[in-house]
Symmetry: D2
Amino acid sequence: MSAPFETRIRDSFARQSMMQTLGATLTGIAEGRVEITAPILEGSRQQQGVAHAGLTFAIGDSAAGYSALTLIPEGMEVMTTEMKINLLAPGAGDTLVARGRVIKPGRRLMVVQSDIFAVTDGAERHIAMMVGTMIPVDL
Amino acid sequence: MSAPFETRIRDSFARQSMMQTLGATLTGIAEGRVEITAPILEGSRQQQGVAHAGLTFAIGDSAAGYSALTLIPEGMEVMTTEMKINLLAPGAGDTLVARGRVIKPGRRLMVVQSDIFAVTDGAERHIAMMVGTMIPVDL
Amino acid sequence: MSAPFETRIRDSFARQSMMQTLGATLTGIAEGRVEITAPILEGSRQQQGVAHAGLTFAIGDSAAGYSALTLIPEGMEVMTTEMKINLLAPGAGDTLVARGRVIKPGRRLMVVQSDIFAVTDGAERHIAMMVGTMIPVDL
Amino acid sequence: MSAPFETRIRDSFARQSMMQTLGATLTGIAEGRVEITAPILEGSRQQQGVAHAGLTFAIGDSAAGYSALTLIPEGMEVMTTEMKINLLAPGAGDTLVARGRVIKPGRRLMVVQSDIFAVTDGAERHIAMMVGTMIPVDL
């Protein structure tokens, strides 16, 4: 039996067409934690051939947002109000994995974090860290 | 006659496959300033049907990076080390325009800003502001 | 005759004991804009003798917060929820001037900016840029 | 016997007059980790009587910077280039403790984090999280 928030997140994710464009999939959902994985597609690169920061940001932002969504009442959504990314290493590898989690839940604001890893032959390298704020909004 | 940096930027942009995926084009290049425009494609949306923050970030980051590239010596590239985005309004409209510029040039670090606007029937709305740091690297 | 928000801001500022500790004074109040000036006291320095980033941040944060306060209803306060500072140059000089302004007003969130300048013999140098979010709260 | 970096950090800290003004002391030094503790002095408050964000930022920034300093060669210093603070709860209590650590060391840039806690009767509450970038510079 899935957690009550799981269906909500899978439904919302399915409507994020950007996730399909990037080939991203939901690979983990737990209370306060969501994981999204994406291949580094031919069409997701920057000028040197590694992952564009836009890919890293997009899956990191969605993972963080959905981690917040696991903690808010049904009938509400979350929106990103601000997000900072620190890039730690180039996005070189086969896939990127973004792990979002809630640092500080709140009725008005939720502080969230995403850590993004590049995976090469199963080995993970920490390539980015994001910290931001989500705001609950009525659907 | 184009500025010496214009060819470099057009060549680099053409190698950013993510820009093609998003339908983005270079719509302005001047010393310390670069503009990138992208339609809000069917495949670039979040769950409510407006632009995904990943689109906003991707073109804002590239515009900011290329604005820095206009100011550094040939044979060098720039990389984003950190970037924060404050989202001011939903990305609803026909296209997004990102205008990047250099706030503070430097040999080791360059502080850059991008402002992103959603355009509907020619009217612009300021939807996001980004401030970050670019670092010059050898090609 | 002063603007209706001016008294509120002067009263609130007078209660910020940190501003007195730093020798800071309110040097400008207008709708959506507030300026705070502080000497670089002997006791406000970092290890190399220039202004500590804590001084820069403290007056920049207060200037930004009070610029937001000019736009919200009486009986409410604002609190900083997040703030990023990019340091552009060392804080060397006689005084620092922080100029805060509202980038995006809002009922739930206000995005604000502060620019901080070091002043030496009347000449200003841009030493820091801050962008953050203020949230209105009941007093 | 103290670690080789301990003396360097204690000497540098002693020259940060802002730390004395705020009553801050070094309460922990280890490789890649530094802790700074400060009372919430009468003169370090905002208008509602709790710690001014400037205090939180000042000790968080210094703790993060010194955590980076433990990892760089002698004869060099570090400078903050950017720092974001997310405020999680009001700074109410007797003292603040800032714990800085290095997330990603590097020759050109170091990404650092500080977590700041308010302590009341020995109980800690997480009040702020900071992530930023330090740059090594010659003394």
